[in-house]
Symmetry: C2
């Protein structure tokens, strides 16, 4: 049966469904623990956490669940400040600052998002979460060995076959094959052609053929149909983000929630205007305007220096056009329910599909 | 079983697999008839045919097969010549003409591709092919009624939910849900955000939910895994183009064939630089250069006036960088074999997948 996937067995979880790590305005501990308690694999997006906060969140998770969970980190390189790109970005965002009555920062040289470091590695080895996953890069093989040595399953995102092969060579246990449909940041690190983005249906079989490690599919998976499809394509498990955004445990803003409740397939596009890296989010006045002519932006995460004040204003004013509402191309299939109800519904949909002969 | 799909029954074909209509340098009669004889639905791309040639190709098809086949037409509007866009396009292509020693046409006001017309409609009603499919638009409801009245199944391409609904309202029997992964021209006609392109995995379930007519999935389907996936997503059949490009019956150039034999997932991008409409093809020096800064181009099919001389030169010189090699994101899974061997392999892969309990 589909539940006896290699990924599920390896993680010791009942259903091979990962709730994708997401960074919202508040920590996702309630959601992630509910997913793990319901037999999936809950995740926390830890990229922006200090070592202290990371320790605190792990303690909260362990208090709320005895089941396996996943912690996700970013592996971007530290950006170089480029005065020309900075100047260009200032000119592009200036009309928004003026219209909203905000003070334009002097420049975008400060960094908001720290990258993975030894302090976090040491804490993980001490705390032994079931899985640690990486985005935006290939983890250092020495770090991979240390994590695996501690009994932690190591996962990382690939958006192309080439990236999947790089990750396997670095020793990861699980490649998360992220298709074009996925909401949020593209994990690309070798291949960064944002327009080339490989759709999930084309990516998963090619990645499955290319690597021997476990493959988890992500991007556009919204219900049991998507799960069965990804299993047929060769995935050992699925990684679903958007579907969990409307769970009752998810600390999402009303504006974001309401946008999801009326979402359509065409809502989103890839934009670098939030962070400097391509990210799938709802099209807004801000992201559409800044996509004109395809300018280059300050490197991730420098662009946050210019975009975050606009976002904070949008959140305070409940103004959708100046927020960053991250979601994928299948958001229109979202429903509001608890994480446990969602997991149960997914499992039932899969069972119904695989037991009918109609496929 | 999967073979008893509503689409297969409706068309009277053994396997619900459509060989997508494609336009190569020579007619695809040998390929299309072989596909139909093997139990699939062979197609001819008739967009560029005169009424006379159309009649001739139908006669050839009927000589080679008694099985159902499909004829495909374009439904673009007649373009308006825009002197400013023309001037801009001339400037963009000029360096290529200079480098290749070609004479730049005076302008791009001539049209190469005719659109659907009464002469073709009358011939179809007289000849009654099993299916007629449309790309680039919504067929006139009166034409749809006439075709259906003659016993012809009518299909048309949608790239978004909105387009699928428009097509259903016009009376089509079959919506071809074309995902982002698909090689060749995107069929978009209401929604033309080329960057928003919905991946097949996200598009098919949303279209299936939105319309009551039959849904055939296209884009990135390369083998039995893709077929089972699309059936799970809600499709009644599949539409596969790239997979048939390396069939022994396909009249493809050596350069195109060899590119497919070493294809990778990242090879392609969408380019308007060939025809004026977004089209997925192998990235070349020409298409990459003309994508810089995302310029607008003369409307379809006017841009062919500037791109065709470059293509003809590329073909004559067997120079890949100046040809238009159309294929999708799963081309790396292509194998060289006969159409019958391909159909048999697909059927076996599907049967093997659905009879194992591992999904």
């Amino acid at each position: 049966m589909w539940n006896s996937s290699k990924f599920g067995k390896r993680l010791g979880i009942e259903h091979p469904i990962v709730q994708a790590p997401m960074i919202l305005q508040k920590p996702l501990v309630a959601l992630a623990s509910a997913v793990s308690n319901a037999g999936g694999l809950g995740s926390l997006g830890c990229a922006e956490m200090s070592v202290d906060e990371l320790g605190q969140r792990i303690a909260e998770m362990k208090h709320l669940t005895v089941k396996p969970f996943n912690l996700n980190f970013f592996l971007h390189s530290q950006p170089t400040f480029d005065p020309d790109l900075d100047k260009q970005a200032r000119a592009l965002v200036a009309p928004f600052y003026q219209a909203l009555g905000l003070d334009l920062p002097d420049n975008a040289s400060g960094t908001e998002a720290e990258t993975f470091n030894t302090g976090k590695l040491d804490l993980l080895i001490e705390q032994v979460p079931a899985m640690v996953s990486f985005h935006f890069g290939c983890p250092n093989p020495t770090d991979v060995d240390k994590l695996k040595g501690a009994g932690i399953v190591v996962a990382a995102t690939a958006t192309t076959v080439k990236e999947a092969i790089v990750l396997e060579r670095a020793g990861v246990d699980v490649v998360v094959a992220q298709g074009w449909e996925a909401g949020g940041h593209r994990g690309s690190f070798v291949s960064d052609y944002e327009d080339v983005g490989i759709g999930t249906l084309a990516l998963v079989p090619q990645v499955s053929d290319a690597v021997d490690c476990l493959v988890v599919a992500s991007g556009g998976i919204a219900d049991g149909r998507g799960i069965v499809a990804c299993r047929a394509l060769g995935a050992d498990g699925v990684w679903m983000g958007t579907a969990f955004l409307t769970c009752t445990e998810t600390p999402i803003s009303d504006v974001h929630h309401n946008a999801l409740m009326v979402a359509a397939d065409e809502d989103t596009h890839l934009s670098r205007a939030f962070s400097g890296r391509p990210c799938r989010a709802r099209r807004t006045r801000y992201s559409t305007q800044l996509a004109q002519g395809r300018p280059e932006f300050p490197a991730f995460p420098l662009m946050y220096n210019y975009s975050s004040p606009i976002k904070r204003h949008g959140i305070a004013e409940e103004d959708l056009e100046h927020q960053f509402l991250l979601y994928g191309q299948a958001a229109a299939l979202n429903k509001e329910r608890s994480a446990e109800q969602l997991i149960k519904a997914l499992v039932k949909e899969v069972q119904d599909l695989v037991t009918t002969a109609s496929i």
